[in-house]
């Protein structure tokens, strides 16, 4: 083997092989890095424990100036539209916001001492969408207390805006639970009162929420005539980063309550960019592979006579092919190892930056990139080996 190598290493062109080596290294690095970066950053947008958790989306129709003066298309969702939404593959559950259709006002006080009152409204969503403890979340006709959920932002506005400027005490969620509200409902010739109690705060639902059963009962009682098509919809989706959601919503002209779907758009662009970069890397790898194959062909061409002699004195084609096969596999392996090393280095650099921005980000693993690297290495090496062997077989046949 040593002697065969001594023979066949003649005419190896160092510049050509160095060209292949660095081109392949570059290509491999780009491919691995783009995959690694994609898999590192993706959880930020779509994973369960990511810092954005947009698995619930709230949709409404766009309010145009025409809507505002009562013209233009309706701003509520029809049953047909709801059904269509339900049929979308990305939609796990769809629920409608139902608003109170009568006048509501509320006055508050602690232990019977009235403090202030305000006009307000109620809305409900199906109970499954409510993100607080549901033990207290029920209402039956005849109950004299209705549970209420407020947006958590209200409390923040009061505590950090209003209370501070008015020298009022800050209140905790627990204290709010003790506040007794007297709710007046007027409509359909009735004027009746019920007690309300705040049982929790929601970060997800930006409205004053009561149980669905209460809304159904009260709308029937105080506004039996009213049209109760929902104007807002809550949607639970499997994968909020799914591009299909953005496309569907844009196509229908719906509006998202906030920019949660930006995550979806960003994931899309992230995937697109990573895909393009990876493609470029693959292209470079492919070209470098081509350089290598040309070099090997040239090398075999220059050493053809020696190889023929080896074959004639009893060497098998497999044994004659082996040195060049080992050479290419060795180079591919070196490229793989260097690319992995480079990947780890670069990754530690950008991960540091990412952690600074998203401290909650999980550590992730480089397994996908390592696997891809090994798969690429295996494919390239096998193809190399086959081509070299094929060339030697041609020499065998003359």
């Amino acid at each position: 083997m040593r002697l065969v190598w001594k023979l066949l290493r003649r005419h190896i062109s160092l510049p050509q092989f160095a060209g292949f080596f660095f081109a392949n290294l570059l290509g491999m690095m780009i491919v691995l890095l783009s995959l690694q970066f994609y898999s590192d950053v993706k959880p930020v947008f779509s994973e369960e424990d990511g810092f954005i958790r947009p698995d619930y989306l709230i949709l409404s129709k766009r309010i145009s100036s025409l809507n505002a003066i009562g013209l233009g298309s309706v701003s509520t969702f029809s049953d047909k539209e709801m059904d269509e939404l339900r049929a979308q593959p990305f939609a796990k559950r769809v629920g409608a916001f139902t608003a109170s259709q009568y006048k509501v006002s509320c006055s508050m006080g602690i232990s019977g001492v009235a403090q202030f009152g305000t006009e307000m409204f109620f809305e409900s969503v199906p109970d499954a969408f409510v993100d607080v403890d549901l033990k207290k979340w029920h209402f039956r006709e005849g109950d004299d207390v209705v549970p209420i959920i407020l947006p958590r932002t209200y409390l923040a506005i009061y505590n950090f805006g209003f209370a501070q400027s008015q020298n009022l005490p800050k209140i905790s969620e627990g204290i709010v639970g003790m506040v007794e509200m007297t709710i007046a409902m007027r409509g359909n010739g009735r004027n009746e009162y019920i007690k309300g109690r705040v049982i929790g705060f929601s970060t997800r639902l930006n409205t004053i929420l009561v149980p669905e059963s209460f809304i159904r009962w009260s709308n029937a009682r105080y506004a039996p005539e009213a049209d109760i098509e929902p104007s807002r919809i809550i949607l639970e989706v499997g994968n909020p980063a799914d591009d299909a959601i953005v496309n569907y919503i844009n196509e229908k002209g719906y509006e998202m309550e906030d920019d949660k779907l930006d995550a979806g758009r960003m994931t899309f662009f992230l995937r697109l960019t990573a895909g393009i970069v990876m493609l470029v890397g693959l292209l470079i790898s492919l070209l470098s592979f081509y350089i290598l194959m040309l070099s090997i062909y040239l090398l075999v061409e220059k050493n053809t006579e020696k190889m023929r002699t080896l074959l004639l004195i009893g060497y098998s084609p497999a044994r004659v092919a082996l040195p060049y096969q080992l050479l290419t596999i060795g180079m591919n392996a070196a490229v793989l190892l260097l690319a992995m090393g480079g990947l780890c280095l670069l990754r530690s650099l950008y991960m540091e930056q990412l952690w600074r921005v998203f401290p909650k980000m999980s550590d992730g693993s480089i397994l996908p990139a390592v696997l891809l690297g090994i798969v690429l290495f295996a494919i390239v090496s096998i193809v190399n080996a086959i081509i070299i062997r094929h060339r030697i077989n041609q020499i065998w046949k003359n």
Partner: protein, 214 residues
């Protein structure tokens, strides 16, 4: 392998010729293990072609060549490799040595296939053929006659049933060709092998069992 049969064999380039008068072409010739043959030929009669056909390097012939009755055209790559490693050794007219290797390395590259000979035996042959001082010299710096002897030694470092020597002594003087004949017959006898020697004039003095005129 006990015999090589040339059955109606003819190089395809001779197919058009009608004036072929040969002891081998278009005849049935059997070479047997343990016997010594001389094939005398004028230039251009297909002597090297014959060697190429037998060793499987070329297949452009008519008729057939059989090893123990088995048609050589049916042999697979692996069969040829085995045949070249263990059954037929060949001393090429053009030697086919590797100029960048030393004389010893040229022999070792072959011996490493079967590890048939010990280094000591090989050195003994270098000694016997008068090129012991050239063992570590690159072959390209040696004369053709010296190279011929190296090629001879290389042909001997494998097990074989037949040794095919294509003009082995074309560039050797009397004394050296006698030394070569001794080494060659010594090893062939040890292995019980047949010897087939071709020549275009000067030929090795051996007790030939049969001579052919190609």
């Amino acid at each position: 392998m006990n015999n090589i049969l040339l059955d109606n064999t003819l190089p395809q380039v001779f197919l058009q010729r009608t004036d072929i008068r040969s002891d081998i072409w278009r005849k049935q010739v059997t070479f047997e293990r343990g016997k010594t043959y001389l094939i005398e030929a004028a230039s251009g009669t297909g002597k090297s072609s014959l060697c190429s056909f037998i060793i499987g390097y070329r297949k452009d012939f008519d008729g057939s060549i059989r090893f123990d009755g088995k048609d050589s055209r049916g042999l697979k790559t692996a069969d040829w490799v085995k045949l070249r490693q263990h059954h037929i050794s060949m001393l090429f007219q053009e030697l086919r040595l590797f100029p960048e290797l030393t004389a010893m390395e040229n022999v070792e590259i072959k011996n490493s296939l079967t590890h048939f000979k010990l280094r000591k035996e090989i050195e003994g042959w270098f000694e016997a053929l008068g090129i012991a001082d050239k063992m570590q010299s690159p072959v390209r710096l040696m004369s053709f006659g010296q190279q011929q002897r190296v090629a001879m030694i290389r042909a001997l470092v494998q097990p074989f049933d037949f040794l095919l020597a294509d003009e082995p002594i074309s560039h050797l003087d009397e004394a050296n060709s006698r030394a070569m004949a001794d080494v060659l017959t010594g090893e062939a006898r040890r292995q019980g092998a047949g010897i087939i020697i071709t020549s275009i004039g000067k030929h090795m003095e051996l007790p030939y069992d049969k001579s052919f005129c190609l």
